[in-house]
């Protein structure tokens, strides 16, 4: 479940990055549809955070330490919403670039999360 969510978040994050990158390429700011996309990715990241905490509460332990695991879960959840807020105040193509960059950061965090959890 956790690994499946990790893959799902990484894939949707990359799709979001491509989508917002395309918007930036066409010189457009983020629109409502982009924010819906960000919401979908954020909900998946939130689900991952909840599942991760439940697994920890169930006595399972990540390979590389619990503190780092929790820190990365929180970071993964916060990445796209933070970039989204920045793009709300930057109504140019650069707002779209910011969200695309945020989504790429999230995808990288997911790769790290996969390593940290192990198995």
């Amino acid at each position: 479940m956790l690994v499946a969510l990790t893959v799902a978040v990484a894939v949707t994050a990359l799709a979001l990055a491509a989508w917002c990158g395309f918007a930036a390429y066409r010189d457009q700011p983020t629109k409502d549809w982009h924010f819906i996309g960000m919401a979908v990715v954020s909900v998946l990241a939130l689900a991952q955070l909840v599942v991760g905490v439940v697994r920890l509460a169930g006595g399972e332990r990540p390979d590389q330490g619990m503190t780092i695991f929790i820190a990365y879960l929180i970071g993964a959840f916060a990445a796209v919403p933070a970039a989204g807020f920045l793009s709300l105040t930057e109504r140019t193509r650069w707002g779209s670039v910011t969200v695309a960059a945020g989504a790429v950061v999230l995808a990288v965090l997911e790769v790290r999360l996969y390593d940290i959890w192990g198995s």
Binding site: A79, S87, T89, V97, A101
Partner: protein
């Protein structure tokens, strides 16, 4: 923050034209990356210092220093203005020097760093962004002066 910026913007641009917004346009992307690296370096050093400081004190202190530098540049970009631009430019140069020195140091004498820092191996663990970021930042800050 943004609300006050919006309302204050027309007055300040007419009052003094040289007041340039460093954190808008392409600068917004820099704010994002510097913000991310502030959080990454700060959380990394805090966690490692609490868990086992004695393992690699030099590496952890360097991570903390990096976090402070990143944090200050983020703040300067958001604040804007000529003074902040110069301060950020100095910090970007310091950051670049830090990456190059620590990067070379970790390659020449790995034993000095039992654990990695943000700047180890020229920031390879962070997709080399620690090297790219100060260069991009300095280009942006230099261009900002002419506008």
């Amino acid at each position: 923050m943004t609300d006050t910026d919006r309302t204050g913007a027309p007055a300040s641009t007419s009052a003094q034209k040289q007041q340039f917004e460093l954190g808008t346009g392409p600068g917004r992307v820099l704010v994002w990356f510097y913000g991310v690296f502030t959080v990454a370096a700060a959380s990394r050093s805090v966690v490692q210092m609490i868990l086992d400081f004695d393992k690699a004190p030099l590496a952890y202190i360097l991570s903390a220093v990096a976090a402070v530098v990143y944090g200050f540049i983020t703040y300067s970009l958001v604040r804007g203005g000529e003074k902040a631009r110069r301060a950020a430019l100095v910090c970007c140069a310091a950051e670049l020097a830090g990456v190059l020195v620590v990067g070379t140091w970790t390659l020449v004498k790995p034993s000095a760093f039992p654990d990695a820092t943000v700047w180890s191996d020229f920031g390879m663990g962070y997709l080399f962004i620690p090297v790219i970021l100060p260069v991009t930042g300095m280009i942006w800050l230099r261009r900002a002066r002419r506008v």
